[in-house]
């Protein structure tokens, strides 16, 4: 019975989301991208690292629909495998940031007082350092690799999530049902998990979908300057970086991965936009 109810709620959100055509399109694009990443070995026509000097910078052909890069590797296959790295960067980094941010923001907002002051002042200091610079230095210190880039990104964007969560918790905390929970002996942990977080998380869900897009972008930037994914593993940002050297002669080498980044970021943002409307009960009809 309870499960049915939960499903109904998801249907309800989906029903509202459906009204926003762009969001639905974005949703399917994202699903498609994720499937591409998961089934990359089955989908890719060639190996992503197989070099072929004869085909260096070859134009599109029947065997290589998007042509070959300057080492003769199949661009399409590299794009398909690159989706794995890029999406991982986006999704895992945001997951890290959201987890830390939710925990920090909830505790600061719920307990208030010196806990709140201390954590918010720390975040102030944190935010005084430009986000990207922080990611770059973290990634540089930890050594360039996909995992370190993800961790660096995740840590770099925590303050935004923590602040949104804190603000949201502050409004929920004052609601009468929190007091009502106290009156029936609910512990702090229960109040936070059952009453505060479910009611405060709405604004963050939107921030999360949008965050995935900006993390893909930032991850690409890290790879671009050589601090992210290491060759020969393909990643969209790294591919643009490599293509830079032959940009004038073969602009398409940079164009395709650029388009991939753009499409996935756009899809995330549009879905986030649509979700915000679908999750807001005040915009019910």
């Amino acid at each position: 019975m309870e499960k049915k109810r939960k499903q109904l709620r998801i249907f309800e959100i989906w029903r509202r989301l459906k009204k926003n055509r762009l969001a639905v399109v974005a949703f399917f694009i994202l699903i498609l991208l994720i499937l591409t990443a998961v089934f990359a070995p089955l989908l890719a026509p060639h190996s992503y690292s197989q070099q072929n000097a004869k085909l260096a910078n070859a134009p599109p052909s029947a065997r290589h629909p998007l042509g070959n890069d300057r080492l003769g590797r199949d661009i399409l296959s590299r794009l398909i495998y690159g989706a794995r790295q890029s999406l991982q960067m986006g999704i895992i980094a945001v997951a890290i940031a959201a987890t830390i941010g939710i925990a920090l923001g909830t505790v600061a907002g719920f307990y208030g007082g010196w806990v709140d002051n201390l954590s918010m002042r720390l975040l102030d200091i944190y935010q005084a350092i430009p986000m990207f610079l922080l990611c770059v230095s973290l990634a540089a210190v930890m050594g360039p690799s996909l995992h370190n880039a993800i961790i660096a990104l995740g840590i770099g964007i925590v303050p935004g999530y923590a602040r949104i969560m804190r603000a949201s918790v502050l409004t929920v905390r004052e609601k009468e049902y929190i007091e009502a929970a106290r009156a029936i002996n609910a512990s702090d942990a229960r109040i936070i998990l059952k009453h505060i977080v479910p009611n405060a998380i709405g604004p963050l869900i939107v921030q999360i979908t949008m965050g995935v897009g900006s993390c893909i972008l930032a991850g690409s930037a890290l790879s671009f300057i050589g601090l992210g994914v290491q060759p020969p593993v393909p990643e969209w940002g790294a591919m643009i970086s490599e293509a830079r050297k032959v940009m004038r002669e073969y602009p398409t080498h940079a164009l395709y991965p650029g388009l991939c980044v753009m499409i996935s970021v756009l899809a995330c943002n549009l879905l986030g936009d649509g979700l915000r409307d679908a999750l807001d009960p005040r915009l019910k009809n």
Binding site: R5, Y177, E179, A183, I184, N185, R190, N199
Partner: protein
């Protein structure tokens, strides 16, 4: 017989930037089992804070609270848990006192889960029973609060308060957010429950017609102090404090022949922050004299009728 609840010199002060806010300032009362104490007063007079302090939703600054003869002013955590099974609260606004993400049955079951000691199916049975008691049809079991009207929501609030079978319930303006027809239904439900289960109520409200109907005894509060306390009928027939007189004169009368004289209060309500020691109603009182600047004492003017005014005799004589 020891009263169910006794409060002595209860004080609750809040620290503000301007100074100490005297929300509840030296309240005394006792309440017998099965009775209803009505607490009336205008917004900001401390009646809600009084109710919340009794349940330790905020801690009292000073004074003593006795429940069934035990001192519960500063209970240990373990005692507080047990105490809250005996003392419950029904909140004012049924639109904000229910978690919007909990279904009706989840909300009513929550106190049972927190008390523990019941199996899942027992709790479900008890929940259905409670829903039946307060008159919510079983088909609403899986509804969410926003799908229900105010009256039904408030019934959920009542069911939650009843779930642990308390002896004493603070009703914090439970009907003021409802429309009039639903108010009557809700109040009748509460009266039925009282009769059935021998509940004791403290009924906080600003609605005088409601308080007359439901209370055995009425306490009139002004700026954190009890200015008058009397059996319900006595207070309505024979109010002694100037503030109570003004308050009661505000009740509309359905008669064109004996027009009641409306006492209009002028002036702002005195600030509850660092109040002067004298009568707090002085600034708005038509009868204010020099002696009103002295601290006032609660005096018994007739058996069971207390008033906090040094001039009540002269005023009545007029």
């Amino acid at each position: 017989m020891t009263p169910l609840l006794e409060v002595r010199n209860l004080k609750k002060y809040f620290k503000t930037r301007a100074g100490l806010l005297h929300a509840v300032d030296g309240v005394y009362f006792s309440l017998d089992k099965g009775k209803t104490l009505g607490v009336v007063g205008e917004s900001g007079c401390g009646k809600t804070t009084l109710g919340r302090t009794l349940l330790h939703l905020t801690e009292p600054t000073d004074g003593q609270i006795f429940f069934e003869g035990r001192d519960i002013t500063n209970p240990a955590k373990k005692d507080l848990r047990r105490l809250r099974e005996d003392m419950q609260i029904i909140f004012q606004d049924p639109y904000s006192s229910l978690n919007p993400r909990m279904s009706v049955s989840e909300a009513i079951m929550e106190p049972l889960i927190l008390r523990g000691g019941m199996s899942k199916s027992e709790m479900l049975d008890r929940t259905r029973q409670l829903m039946d008691t307060v008159g919510i049809a079983a088909r609403f079991e899986n509804s969410y609060p926003h799908e229900l009207d105010g009256g039904r929501r408030q019934r959920i609030g009542i069911a939650r308060a009843l779930a642990l079978e308390p002896k004493f319930i603070v009703c914090d303006e439970p009907v003021s957010a409802l429309d009039v027809s639903i108010q009557a239904q809700t109040i009748n439900l509460m009266l039925d429950l009282q009769e059935e289960r021998g509940l004791t109520y403290m009924f906080v409200t600003h609605d005088l017609s409601v308080v007359k109907y439901i209370s055995d005894e009425i306490m009139v509060m002004y700026l954190g102090q009890v200015v008058e306390k009397a059996p319900a009928d006595e207070l309505f027939c024979n109010p002694r404090h100037p503030y109570s007189k003004a308050l009661l004169s505000a009740i509309p009368v359905l008669s064109i022949h004996n027009k009641k004289e409306r006492i209009l209060l002028r002036g702002e309500i005195t600030s509850p922050v660092n109040p002067k020691p004298g009568c707090r109603f002085m600034a708005r009182c038509d009868y204010a004299r020099k002696e009103c600047n002295r601290p006032q004492k609660l005096e018994e003017c007739s058996p069971g009728h207390f008033v906090l005014c040094c001039r009540y005799q002269e005023i009545t004589d007029k």
